[in-house]
């Protein structure tokens, strides 16, 4: 029972943090590193931190459109 609960707990965090978009976790960690590195150059940080988030969001979303196009194509091929 406890093992099952721990497994479910681990699965929840894996799905939540990684799931099918590991790039988002990578981006969040990269932003943390950038924030630490740029804490004394605030003017740069004000631009770089949001820009990093936007670039990753755009890239990940475009990857999502390719994946959805691929799955639709597969369905059509199967049919």
């Amino acid at each position: 029972m406890i093992v099952r609960a721990l497994r479910a707990f681990g699965r929840f965090w894996w799905e939540f943090l990684v799931g099918d978009t590991p790039e988002l976790l990578g981006a969040a960690l990269a932003i943390v590193v950038l924030a630490v590195l740029l804490r004394h150059q605030r003017d740069v940080a004000y631009v770089v931190l949001p820009l990093t988030a936007i670039v990753v969001l755009v890239a990940s979303t475009i990857r999502g459109t390719k994946r959805s196009a691929g799955s639709e194509q597969t369905v059509e091929e199967d049919a």
């Binding site: 929840f12 939540f16 943090l17 799931g19 978009t21 988002l24 976790l25 981006a27 969040a28 960690l29 932003i31 943390v32 924030a35 630490v36 740029l38 804490r39 004394h40 605030r42 940080a45 004000y46 931190l49 949001p50 988030a53 936007i54 990753v56 969001l57 755009v58 990940s60 979303t61 475009i62 999502g64 459109t65 959805s68 196009a69 639709e72 194509q73």
Partner: protein, 255 residues
Amino acid sequence: MNTTSTTVLILAVFGASLVEMVEALTIVVAAGVTRGWRSALEGALAAVVVLTVLVAAVGVPLIHYIPIDALRVVVGTLLLVLGLSWLRKSILRSSGHKPQHDENAIFAATTAELTQGASGSRRDGVGFAVAFKGVFLEGTEVVLIVVSLGASQHRLGIAAAAAGGAVLIVGVVGALVATQLSRVPENTIKTVVGVMLTSFGLFWVGEGAGVHWPGSDLAILALVGLFLLVTRGMVWTLRTWRPPVTPRALVEVDG
């Protein structure tokens, strides 16, 4: 902490709770209709009690024992992952690249599944379990948001109250118009909450690491505006320049 961040906190928690609880209510109503209301309501109530205990058990020690800057970096990272993920999903849905979430379809699928082997007795283990699981799983994300936002601003009570308010409203409205759940503009709410979570996440990561944003808490509003613009721009761009292979798919049942 000024009223700007408190207002954004309340709106973010309330919106996130609203979306997740609409999804949970669909499952509870399906369990109630097919397996009996008593078991479904008991299951839902038990899940709410467990989630409330989780907020108190995890949130209160976080506030008292973890250094605030470290807490803000960790919380900011979690909010960034969650916010970017919600934004990505809502952009794909709005641009037609991912099926819309359809509560009617989920209700029909769950009802059909639960009708098989319905016992008809007053206490039903399946009905209890399905309702508990539905509320608990959807509520876990709400707990995460309540604890993260509440703890990082030392506003756990306000965050919990905002989530409680959303649960109450969804419960009352759901009881009155259970069949109208599909009219809730879920993707719009998810977009707005995704923008808020991403903005909060970026703000707290910066603050925790020592980057103090210009205008202090007002920077959150600037970030919200920026991410709203980016989201709208991406939806427009994807619709115009990268339309889906087939028109907007029908519904999504499992996500």
